[in-house]
């Protein structure tokens, strides 16, 4: 669903770059990375990007300068700045230099994703549909209503989150651990059996007795295959 959304990361710390790249790719974004401000500006002028994630501390210049230069050159893509200092003056400086939003290190990756989604929505480069359709299943992320073949079905919040995750990533293989982390939170300590329980409840409610919709991948986990 995030195909064609290209994100440029200008950040010099190798570990931060690594997880940003991996995490954003996993979410379906196309990601390019540059370690210096100058290289980043070169990349920007060569191909269009939907969003820029910009670190304030760069080896060749600081993020504020890069941002100002970028706006001077007429680039109007949304810029999310990563800062370390919590001082108000820094945030003001960031926003004044043309950034659209900022995050203070150490930030949560979930929050980063939420801010990226919000920025993309505001800039109009991505029209995020509130209603996702897969086969004859309709899921409304705003009203949290699910309809199967026009018939309304009642889901628990856990079942809803599971279905939403599956429908966002059709045909992707999820391990039980990943499903557990995504639905129950990263600090949930229980066993993975609970995932099987909730998946079975969801199958029953969706009328998926043959397990064609939510398939069990033996030794791996589950994957969602919507009927075309």
């Amino acid at each position: 669903m995030n195909q064609d959304t290209k994100i440029l990361i200008i950040e010099d710390d190798p570990v931060i770059t690594e997880f940003l790249q991996t995490g954003l790719k996993y979410e379906g974004y196309e990601v390019s990375v540059s370690n210096t401000g100058a290289e980043g500006l070169r990349l920007l002028s060569r191909q269009p990007f939907s969003l820029l994630v910009l670190d304030v501390m760069l080896p060749d210049s600081d993020g504020f300068q890069v941002c100002r230069r970028l706006r001077d050159h007429g680039f109007n893509l949304p810029v999310l700045m990563l800062t370390v200092k919590k001082e108000v003056s820094d945030r003001v400086k960031g926003l004044d230099s043309g950034a659209d939003d900022y995050l203070t290190k150490p930030f949560s990756f979930d929050e980063l994703l939420a801010r990226i989604r919000a920025l993309l929505r505001r800039s109009g480069s991505v029209r995020e549909e509130a209603v996702i359709r897969a086969g004859d299943i309709l899921l409304d992320t705003e009203t949290r209503q699910v309809h199967v073949s026009g018939r309304h079905i009642e889901l628990t919040p856990t079942e809803f989150s599971l279905l939403e995750l599956f429908m966002h990533h059709p045909r992707r293989a999820f391990t039980r651990e990943t499903l557990l982390n995504r639905v129950f939170g990263y600090d949930y300590d229980g066993g993975t059996n609970i995932v099987d329980v909730h998946v079975n409840h969801l199958r029953n409610k969706l009328g998926d007795a043959s397990h064609h919709l939510i398939r069990t991948l033996y030794g791996v986990g589950y994957a969602f295959y919507p009927e075309s």
Partner: protein
């Protein structure tokens, strides 16, 4: 009482003490002067009266024919004594002539306005009869003070034959009246002096203490955290002026120290937050599902491993810095420099890899230093030199002997430092601009830590650098 005094303000206490001292000294001085004047008056009165009596007595003796050698046989008549007593009596002094038992032989008092003579005092009378010429004493009659003096009557001076004693008594009422007037004048003068003195003193004390009050107000503000507050420095060169100046100086130093401490903590937190960002982000990405991809799992785990090591390194350096604040942690032992450097070169091999590290041996010398600290100093300097110079350029270590010190120098032919960078080179958390392809990013604590390690052993460190040509670090260590 003591508690009450302690509860008073300094100004009130000083004022009270000052007033008490002032009253005490003024009262003592005026009492002494009063007593002196009184003494003077009475002495004057006595000598005056004796001087008046002397010619009268001499005349009388001659008249009675008592000056001749055989005069003792002459029988004196009581009329003769009466004559003498009356001659010696005046308006304010009355004379009587007494025999050895204190009986009045003759009294000079004739008129009612003349004072009544006091009864004889046997003790003083005996002294006069025994030959003392100058007996004077105080007495009183009807509550009025009297000055009494006795004159032994004898034919010639030094003649032991005494046939009576003249007792002259004079009232002191006149003197007392004068003294009373003098005294009351003195009391009002003293009162005025005291009131003015106390008021002026209180004002003066307040003036002196005003700067102390300012100081105390400044202290309270600073205690509330307003470190920019200073007390007004006056032009005064006294103790309080000096106190205000030293106070301001102290707060300046404290403020600077406080700010650098704050900066240090902020920088330290920043150094910890950057690896924590990498750790947190990597973990979240893994937990979100990247863990299912073995390649991503491997890459992110390696990154996290690096970040954890970085955290440990920063913490180690921070601990090292705080440990070196206390020189008790320096353990000096005798070191043979040549042997030590050669051993170090062996141990540094993994760090050097294929880089050229040349040791130019200086004079053979043994000195006292902490071997662990010296090793760390050399290690830090060497890794800096390696990081900021190209792979083909050599690094040279040499040493020489200075009076009381050994100077060790390490030069590279790397990128060098400009003046701006050089001036901050030893600041904690300051990092020079990394050269292309520089290895891991340090926390910027290396040189700061190195300087602490050199200084903890009583040495000093400096850097000479030319941009583009390379840097040389000189550090000295005391021989003992």
């Amino acid at each position: 009482m003591k508690n009450l005094f302690a509860r008073l303000s300094l100004r009130a206490r000083l004022g009270l003490l000052y007033a008490a001292l002032l009253i005490l000294s003024v009262v003592l001085v005026s009492y002494y002067s009063y007593w002196n004047i009184w003494q003077l008056f009475t002495e004057n009165e006595v000598s005056h009266m004796r001087a008046r009596a002397k010619p009268i007595i001499e005349h009388w003796l001659k008249e009675q024919g008592l000056t001749a050698a055989d005069s003792l046989r002459i029988k004196l008549k009581s009329e003769a004594f009466l004559q003498l007593a009356q001659d010696l009596t005046s308006r304010n002094a009355v004379a009587v002539i007494l025999d050895a038992e204190g009986k009045i032989i003759a009294s000079g008092k004739r008129l009612p306005e003349e004072p009544v003579p006091p009864p004889a005092n046997i003790k003083y009378l005996r002294q006069a009869f025994s030959g003392m010429n100058e007996v004077t004493y105080w007495s009183e009659r009807d509550g009025k003070p009297l000055l009494v003096f006795l004159i032994p009557l004898r034919p010639q001076p030094h003649n032991p034959k005494i046939f009576g004693v003249i007792q002259v008594s004079t009232s002191l009422a006149e003197i007392n009246k004068i003294l009373f007037r003098h005294g009351s004048m003195q009391i009002s003068a003293v009162a005025i002096v005291l009131i003015l003195g106390i008021l002026f003193g209180y004002w003066l004390i307040g003036l002196s203490l005003k700067d102390l009050q300012n100081l105390s107000a400044a202290c309270q503000q600073i205690a509330r955290g307003n470190f920019s507050r200073r007390t007004k420095t006056t032009q005064r060169r006294d103790e309080i002026g000096k106190l205000a100046a030293s106070f301001n100086l102290m707060i300046d130093k404290l403020e600077r120290l406080f700010n650098s401490q704050k900066r240090f903590v902020a920088n330290a937190a920043h150094e910890l937050l950057t690896p924590l960002t990498g750790l947190r982000g990597s973990l979240e990405v893994l937990l979100r599902g990247a863990q299912d991809d073995p390649q991503a799992l491997n890459r992110l785990s390696k990154g996290m491993y690096k970040e954890v090591n970085r955290l440990i390194r920063v913490c180690d350096q921070l601990l090292g810095l705080s440990r070196l604040e206390n020189s008790a942690n320096v353990d000096k032992r005798p070191i043979v420099l040549e042997t030590f450097i050669n051993d170090f070169k062996q141990r540094a091999k993994p760090l050097l890899q294929n880089r050229l590290f040349e040791v130019q041996n200086g004079p053979y010398l043994t000195f006292n230093a902490d071997p662990d600290l010296l090793e760390q100093i050399l290690f830090n300097l060497l890794s800096n030199a390696l990081r900021y110079s190209s792979a083909s350029s050599p690094i040279v270590l040499s040493w020489k002997l200075l009076p009381g010190y050994v100077e060790i120098r390490l030069s590279d032919q790397g990128i060098g430092m400009d003046e701006e960078t050089l001036s901050h080179a030893f600041d904690p958390f300051f990092r020079g601009k990394p050269s292309a392809g520089a290895g891991h990013k340090g926390a910027g604590l290396g040189l700061s830590l190195t300087r602490s390690m050199v200084e903890a052993q009583g040495g000093s460190i400096r850097i000479v650098s030319t941009p583009g040509k390379g840097s040389t670090v000189f550090f000295t260590l005391p021989l003992v």
